[in-house]
Symmetry: C2
Subunit: 351 residues, 2 copies
């Protein structure tokens, strides 16, 4: 029998108590959650952060608002299907949508590295304008900082966003109920593979483009159709698997997922095999999971599929009766496995 | 006579049409304004950005809100009187205050460089907690990204903020009127000198500490006292001189400033002489200019001086009748000079 200590040392799970920041602390997986739980949450104790949602739901006067932020450090800046400018707008628009909000206003903070070609900046800002127009939001306030050469990486962008919540529903992991259907709005894995392909210089038979897109309209369609939406989350860093685990743990409810029902494009599946990646852990930028009341499942699917980007929307599982917070994936050959959060870093600087 | 072309080439004014981003594009001076006017404003055309205020004033439902953002890239992270965490909270709180808003909620986006000591991060987050508590705001949503070693500089922070505007006054350069008094809330130049001293390893007889502090309460005191406040601006990058020029140009009104009335601490003035800096162009992080109706000047000064940090609050000039957008500084020996925006970069990465 292996010595337990040796076994632990040899285990590929990353160290969780590190004295310095690792790339994996930004990966959307277990180490990032540890950082949030041990560094940020104890210092900023308040009900909004404790909710660990994609954004904060605030009441100002008699208005319910959603407020969220994300920084974008994707490398390379340009990739098939989009660029850092598209991501910076769509990512924040989508986080607002995940709160059930209609996105209204964005801020943009640019950190430029000395020597960045002005043409690159203009191209990115053009993309932001285009993405803001498509998503129906205005970029109303901004800031520009410049750091010396070698102290940045061309261009980082932060956006924050404000949206207005017009539905009385409380969209949160705590609202999910046994029997709820778990839907995805489209096929998974395209964004991460698009980035990896350009980084690694790979080309596939068909071009795999990022799915970066605003999903707010699809969410508002669900809400205005009267679908009882209990929880929403976009499957960005850490992929679909990680956000399902996040929700199961926050809700303390088990989720039963049918792997065969998860839409993955054939070319994405093939690329994942070549690269040794699991598509369920690969980041998306235009795909979300919706937890809806059992009776509303067929209508929710219909509404999602009516969206121009929703043809692949699928029912992938349901909320189980058990409350141990586990996600069980029934594989193609019928053997169930327990999904875990991404441990370590699968694809650094994906967004 | 010098050949005009040669003369132009030898002129110390920086090139304004550059093909790459320069440090001066982040300096709060002429090049930064050119970047904003030529790259950002034409692409994001909307009334909020066109106002070129410290934040956007939005109406959501029946609520007037202020929304603003800033990224912080100060080097070094820790300096006498504060650190990047204090700046990240106070800077955004102060930008909300400059819109006449009561600051309520902040977001925080962290860009960490792989290898950053965890203790450094914790120390900065502790400062943010302390500063948020002092300013009476909650940090309600956040994001963490990690970039590979050599692609960042330890730690960059972006904060965005939301505040509620409870006054009917429109605080904007366009609201200033001839005869308005121009007040500063305290002495100028301390933040920039504190940073320079630690960068250059200088020590002075007395410790010069950054003035980083929230100014929202001082602004709310003016507003609730019924002072007719026409415009507010905090004298950050580019210093007091640059923001006066900004306001004069935006308002198309002349400003007459009395240099002798501007409070500058003796040790700051001495340090500026040693370093070859003009204190009027040195950044502050807890000092603002207020334009108030002529009849309200004495009361406004009284209110500002009642603030624990307001003992140096002073009347430094007034809005003149002319409308050419010039700022005239009457020097100590009585000779007037026209103030210009900072050209080039005086102190990079000051905030």
């Amino acid at each position: 029998m292996a010595d337990p200590k040796t076994f632990q040392m040899a285990c590929p799970v990353p160290l969780t108590d590190t004295e310095t920041v690792l790339l994996a602390h930004g990966g959307g997986g277990a180490l990032m959650h540890k950082l949030i739980e041990e560094v940020f949450l104890p210092r900023f104790k308040n009900p909004w952060l404790a909710a660990q949602h994609d954004g904060a739901v605030l009441t100002v006067g008699n208005q319910r608002l959603a407020f969220t932020t994300d920084s974008y450090v994707v490398h390379p800046l340009f990739f098939p299907g989009g660029d850092i400018g598209h991501l910076a707008v769509n990512g924040t628009v989508n986080d607002l949508a995940m709160c059930g909000a209609r996105p209204l206003y964005l801020s943009a903070g640019f950190i430029l590295e000395e020597g960045l070609p002005m043409e690159t900046l203009k191209r990115v800002v053009d993309s932001m304008r285009e993405a803001a127009h498509t998503a129906g939001v205005d970029l109303v306030t901004g800031d520009t900082k410049v750091v010396d050469r070698g102290k940045g990486d061309g261009l980082f962008i932060n956006t924050a966003g404000i949206g207005v919540i017009e539905t009385p529903q409380t969209i949160s992991p705590l609202s999910i109920l046994p029997g709820d259907g778990i839907l995805v709005s489209g096929d998974v894995g395209r964004h991460g593979i698009a980035i990896m392909a350009v980084r690694e210089g790979l080309s596939f038979e068909t071009a795999i483009e990022s799915d970066t897109a605003p999903v707010a309209q699809a969410v508002l369609n669900l809400l205005t159709a009267g679908i009882r939406v209990h929880c929403l989350r976009d499957a960005t860093r850490g992929g679909l698997a990680s956000i399902l685990v996040e929700i199961a743990q926050a809700a303390k409810r088990d989720l039963a997922i049918d792997e065969a029902a998860i839409p993955v494009r054939e070319d994405v599946r093939g690329a994942c095999e070549i690269l040794g990646l699991d598509p369920l852990y690969v980041a998306n930028e235009g795909c979300f999971a919706a937890f809806v009341a059992e009776a509303d499942i067929p209508r929710a699917l219909e509404v999602l599929r009516r969206d121009p980007r929703g043809s692949q929307a699928s029912l992938i599982g349901h909320v189980a009766k058990e409350n141990s917070g586990l996600v069980t994936l029934k594989g193609a050959i019928g053997v169930p496995r327990i999904l875990d959060q991404l441990s370590g870093e699968q694809l650094p600087r994906i967004c």
